[in-house]
Symmetry: D2
Subunit: 409 residues, 4 copies
Amino acid sequence: MTVSREIELEGHIIDSGMMQAAFGIVMDMGGSFSVEEFDIGRHKTESSYARLLVEADDEEQLQSIVHELHQNGANPADPKDAKLTPAPGDQVVPTGFYSTTNHPTFIRYEGEWVAVEDVEMDCAVVVEDGDDPRAYTKVLNAVEEGDLIVTGETGIKVEPPERPRDKEGAFGFMQGGVSSERPSVSTIHQIADAIEETKQEGGKVLAVCGPALIHSGAREDLARLVDEGFVDMLSAGNGFAVHDLERDLYGTSLGMDTESLDHPRKGHKHHIYTISEIIRAGGIEPAVDDGLIESGVMYECVTNDVPFVLAGSIRDDGPLPDTITDAVEAQDAIREQAHEADMVLMLSTLLHSVAVGNCLPSTTRVVCVDINPATVTQLLDRGSAQAVGMVTDIGTFVPILAESLLEEA
Amino acid sequence: MTVSREIELEGHIIDSGMMQAAFGIVMDMGGSFSVEEFDIGRHKTESSYARLLVEADDEEQLQSIVHELHQNGANPADPKDAKLTPAPGDQVVPTGFYSTTNHPTFIRYEGEWVAVEDVEMDCAVVVEDGDDPRAYTKVLNAVEEGDLIVTGETGIKVEPPERPRDKEGAFGFMQGGVSSERPSVSTIHQIADAIEETKQEGGKVLAVCGPALIHSGAREDLARLVDEGFVDMLSAGNGFAVHDLERDLYGTSLGMDTESLDHPRKGHKHHIYTISEIIRAGGIEPAVDDGLIESGVMYECVTNDVPFVLAGSIRDDGPLPDTITDAVEAQDAIREQAHEADMVLMLSTLLHSVAVGNCLPSTTRVVCVDINPATVTQLLDRGSAQAVGMVTDIGTFVPILAESLLEEA
Amino acid sequence: MTVSREIELEGHIIDSGMMQAAFGIVMDMGGSFSVEEFDIGRHKTESSYARLLVEADDEEQLQSIVHELHQNGANPADPKDAKLTPAPGDQVVPTGFYSTTNHPTFIRYEGEWVAVEDVEMDCAVVVEDGDDPRAYTKVLNAVEEGDLIVTGETGIKVEPPERPRDKEGAFGFMQGGVSSERPSVSTIHQIADAIEETKQEGGKVLAVCGPALIHSGAREDLARLVDEGFVDMLSAGNGFAVHDLERDLYGTSLGMDTESLDHPRKGHKHHIYTISEIIRAGGIEPAVDDGLIESGVMYECVTNDVPFVLAGSIRDDGPLPDTITDAVEAQDAIREQAHEADMVLMLSTLLHSVAVGNCLPSTTRVVCVDINPATVTQLLDRGSAQAVGMVTDIGTFVPILAESLLEEA
Amino acid sequence: MTVSREIELEGHIIDSGMMQAAFGIVMDMGGSFSVEEFDIGRHKTESSYARLLVEADDEEQLQSIVHELHQNGANPADPKDAKLTPAPGDQVVPTGFYSTTNHPTFIRYEGEWVAVEDVEMDCAVVVEDGDDPRAYTKVLNAVEEGDLIVTGETGIKVEPPERPRDKEGAFGFMQGGVSSERPSVSTIHQIADAIEETKQEGGKVLAVCGPALIHSGAREDLARLVDEGFVDMLSAGNGFAVHDLERDLYGTSLGMDTESLDHPRKGHKHHIYTISEIIRAGGIEPAVDDGLIESGVMYECVTNDVPFVLAGSIRDDGPLPDTITDAVEAQDAIREQAHEADMVLMLSTLLHSVAVGNCLPSTTRVVCVDINPATVTQLLDRGSAQAVGMVTDIGTFVPILAESLLEEA
């Protein structure tokens, strides 16, 4: 046996997203609904009206659906009064107190909607009865014993602001972007799972890498991931390869020993010496074949037949013989990789990530990692359906990812 | 006389936002519509169907509405073939060529929908006819004379990814956040207009200010705005007032002369000397009355009866006698200001802006300015209906704002 | 008639920088000195000793030099007792009180050096006499009437930490970097002065520009600077030129109207249409000659014979026919510009600024402007002798610079 | 038997730091020296002169010391000609080629110093002989077979720019700041070693923590560090404790499950419910004693008798009964902790870190971790002698630190 209740939506319920939100809430919370009436305003200025019959399995479920709908601006056709409970002590709210949003709010009191004064977030609502009943917010530490506090979920109406359809001009409804304050290790584990899934489905993983990955000490772990088959293609620039090779030849990256953190004298010359050695050898593959290069990401690419594209740029030293110096030619090579990839890891490079991103359909899985939130924001702004952005340190990201993948493997 | 066309929407058209987008497009582009059929899936897994009759004033308007609807996943009930035009030269596309999105795309060719291969953004679509017609993307510099290029707006179908209703887990549809790459001066002018509007409506403007405003040399311009009546209330901390007063007493802010950029010896002691002088005087107002303080933001507040709240924090030196050291007491003072404000300018302070923001209803106009995108992102994440965030330099923002406001005044 | 005093330095006075600091202080403050004794430790572990005779014009000057030397670890050969003054009231320090550093500090009291307990910054020092005299810090608000407070500048010894010569390992003396909290408008005025000076000396100014300059609405002001002869050469990429031309052809930059801040429909296609139009015209110069392009930075470069280099990159759309797609060829063109330049403005582009910076001798004047502190830090890390870095908004920087230069002109 | 050579320094050798650098080089490279002559300029405009006799164990060591001295502006009293070697092939430099700095450079050729033309970094120097010999730079890819390339370390003179003693005005010698591109895991290991060392010496470790630590999923690892005795004192704010307790009570932090990354409905209310529950219990310790709180950082503090200070701020919700709301009182509590600490970990909080840092002597070991480079820069700007700053993700830093410490333990 089901229970049901009629709910009304009014206003610009379609283009404000209110109706979309309402349908979502009912379905997510396990209820169902039928649209009993639906009048659509056909012009910008006309408002719309919908009446839904919401059904649930029991009264408790129905109440929490209806509460959630209120929070999003839908109102029951026949509202009930809010429940009031006296505060048991100073600064102590009754269990189940209603905690406010920052939107205009109304409390149903003796059959009338009373506007809550001084609305602000995370407060309790106190009702003062009498001839001219009032409702207002109180922060927790201002609550006094005996205050009549709104509890439970009935008799409360909230009016969230309508999101304007068009953002014209500077002002408008704005939303935050990518934050660094998300659970890092758990997110990395989910990325590891997605890589495994991609591989199990026979998909290909493309790693797009910037030189910061080497400087920050993640080279050995990325090399292991290449060696173990978790990276099918590599896209990078001249600098990435130079510093990876420098670490093999001289133990440094940009002149710093990435283990001891020392700066050997002449260390700042190591990258140019490295380029000179590789030019002398005729390129990276010959240098590996000759036994000149014996470790690192490029070494693992060569020995594991993982194809790599080194795209040139105007800031390159050298460049290495393997670097494609013409931008159009390099784009063609990148395009081919991008079209083959089922999952792309963008690792601390804006330039190469944008280049790859430009060639990707919106259906490819994308992981974007950078310490700079602006970079992550820019890279995610392309409408990928399956994307995750992390504002984190590539020097800790890759080791934790590698541990997660290699342990399970 | 109007023209019309039937359009179909299918899938999770409500919770993916497709229907909302479609209604918006028609209304924004000056058309109108009626909903001829509407079947709503009541459960997560059920898809919905809607058929709209779209009306416009003439064929050209109708076509561009229908084109825009396609781009968003709606399809005409009776599609036509795409128009093909040969490229007039190598690397030269025909005028009016169709430039791709990165979503799965189909071209209507001889009555059939042909999937476009290798979809990527900002490309031309080339159709090869023959027994087994193909359509694929070409970047502009790869176009060859004679290639059959899709032009115009008919016979093209695009399938944008559905935005999942719930974001569970790490992966999902992600959107970028606040960017610094927006037109700065134009945005500041619109903010100036909004301040004027607020004042003309009899509203009150609350400025929430961090010490960076003083260090970055914007003190004199803010003082003028207070003096000219554009700021009705000020909310800041001990440090803001100290450095404002230091500039008056010693010509420096945090020890640097904000005009010559010199660091006088002992300059790093000026702030503590300032605090000591103001304590001796008995507070800011007595110091102004005694003629000790003769300029600056605090001076203008005192002489223009602009109420200020200086809220204490654990990083304060001193503090000044005016600073409210108890956080709960300070919150109460801030709350009162926040509730009175019709427009809030949050100027380069995270701490005080969050404190004020916590007390604001979502209907108050908010301007948030900071050089750090993460700060702007965090402050805008509260669902204000009328908000603008700027990632910019407070030291240039305030002077340009002042020029804009004082010129017009 | 001069006065003089003997000062001793002891420890690793050379490699800790103490001696360099001491010499600098005396000379900066208008005194002179002779080195009376000088024993240099020849090995890492040996300490050195120097005795200087410091001379000044009068006792007051001498005292302030000697005080400053103390603060930096030099001590008078015959120290005097510190001056103690009772606090006139609670929380009120005597005028001229000594405000502490955070370094180990000693107070000369009755001929003995007493270590100050609980050293911290910005405090007063209280001395308790008696058989076993003590000295300790008090924050200003803890001072009580009658506390004996150290005032003046004699009888105080400070021991700043030695800066280790080599930074090996993670720990060491660290210094902060570029801050956004500096006086913005004053700094821009000094940059304008330097540009004027460079031009008056017959020097050449090279502007290195990223597309953010256009997006942020600074295009018109930069165009005026080119037209008025303040920019002699331009170095940029394909994107910069495309968005500059897009604004001329369609009124937008990356699809946004930089004045009204509106996003016209199809605006996101404007850049690719722009590229297509310029390819059709045969390049930027022909497009200007044909009257297709009538304003903007590239227009002013063409009409004022300001040479420009557009260096290609793998993220380019198009590219324009003027863009040099080969990185080595582009570097050669950039190198030529860099060697000719006497002053370089690096404006919101990391890629092109690094490329130019790679080719510059350390004697060229450099201005580096970016909203991202990491970019400014990286660009200044090349040891230019005459450099200024600003963490600011390019969209406000260029207008204020232009106003400053064009007003004076 | 030792070998020796005379070296001259001329110019503002003290205040430019040249002499300090020279002494350091000789000692670091295992040589020794005596000062044979030393004339100090006593005024700003006078230049100084020093002649050193540098001694080394063998000719090879002597040569590399002398080379390093040249690079820093010191010159041998009797210079030799540079060694020239023909390039063995196009784009191939001879082994041991001299790679340039960006400073003015001179090559000793047939007894004369020839200025190198077009100086730029990381190039080879080519000498053209003939009546009027020239020296100029070539990038590696421009080298042609047979070019006479400067190799080895003799006959090369470099003039680094003098660092002006005073930074007045905007322009000057600037140095970069804290970079995120340093080896992350190796740095964390060195921090773990320093913590162990501090503990073994009987020292105390103070952890200063921001709420981002909890949101980013590092709570469990920090709790283990407290439990295992690596943290002796905790300094934080109300928000840190609230979100730590919220995770215990509701499994979320700011409403997000930090393991599954899901957002349960009503999750955004969990923090205010948590505060309400702890107020009801009478504080954190009673809540632990009652069995209400069973895990987390605060739980471990209570059960392991680790003293904690929760300092209030104006952005607090609640606050918890344990939070000290008066800023001056809170500072006193923080001051006591700071004075007791031998090592301070500043973990992703600017506010609390500045508050603690204000009370620290410059001799306390400091570790500062934040994702925002500006925060790290600001915190390190206090002249600690033993400090390390990391621009990294607190959510990966703490787990790697814990693994490193707990493994060894």
